[in-house]
Symmetry: C2
Subunit: 224 residues, 2 copies
Amino acid sequence: MSDAEFKPTPGETDGPVPKAVVSRLSLYLRQLQQGLLGGQTTISSKELGRLLGFTDAQVRKDLAYFGHFGYPGIGYKCEELISAVKRILGTDQTWPVALVGLGNLGRALIGYKGFAQRGFTIVAAFDNDPGVVAAGPIDGLPLYHLDNLPEVARQNRIRLGMIAVPGPAAQSVADRLVAVGVEGILNFAPVTIKLPEGVSQVGVDLAIELEQLTFSVVNRGATT
Amino acid sequence: MSDAEFKPTPGETDGPVPKAVVSRLSLYLRQLQQGLLGGQTTISSKELGRLLGFTDAQVRKDLAYFGHFGYPGIGYKCEELISAVKRILGTDQTWPVALVGLGNLGRALIGYKGFAQRGFTIVAAFDNDPGVVAAGPIDGLPLYHLDNLPEVARQNRIRLGMIAVPGPAAQSVADRLVAVGVEGILNFAPVTIKLPEGVSQVGVDLAIELEQLTFSVVNRGATT
């Protein structure tokens, strides 16, 4: 196997990295952390792949985008690879998140256990309905009127924004988040938003996920 | 350009299709439908790519997995390609969906406009809390106790299930959906569920989406 010498170069990629590779990094991270919790200190690319349903070649190829992490005859050292993958994903840093939109989706996102588990903290939530804001904190999270975004963002060093407003309001909310300096936006509104160079976005279009599912049903076995 | 003769073979792929390709099919479909609404009857791979931020080579390569859809000197005929992509994605069919879990996330999914726009209809929603069910329909959608899943699924010819329950309950809900014959499951619970061969699943892990975002922030320009 090609788990050669350890030479991490996280965050320094030679070329564009396919999005699917980045998604798999998240899966590797989860599996490694689960293994470490269970007392596992090293793991081979074969075992890591097997646990997730990938080949060992896939695991090695994915990680090779970012450096050389394995040791001959040992495989990966779990703790070391966890640190490296977190650095690569940027989750070794703190990312205070502002949520905009307090409808059902916004409330679901506040209650979503998966974020805190991965180091993301929604530190403030915003709506443009004074009644919603006046109803007070949700699960201890302070609510603000959207007009207060500038000072709240500054005080809380907000770095990411999460948009959970209806489609027609999404662009103007995005503009306001950009204006207060967010570095990235996770957009749940079913519309495409335009952002300036230097601000990243990931759109979550749930209908696309359903289309992936129906594709997989009608073309059973046809996806990698 | 290699938009050669029209020879659609949707649903018959020669080999595994990368998931990213299937995601892009959804984006192509949206763009084509938007163009058609605006009166556009044909489009080149270059224009389609440009509108979405992809190269024309990428567009042609993605579609080539499924057949030959272009006409020399013309490009793609919008209506024809829309039909073909819908067939490939399986969205030329009706997919009655059962939603399980009526917390904030479930309620957000009921209100999510993007599903109906793409032909997915949540026809029944389930919870195991009799009080929640007794509170009656949400936006006209009938609510049922999970124990009634078998008869409701049969009456409504349910084909897909959407799981929006807490993690610890997800596997048992999945088992019940499988038992009533669903063909695919969209899983929002932040856990991995095991399904038998022949039942597809797509997991939506919102923390992974956030990790993709932070990766993109810390490795600006590094993804394709």
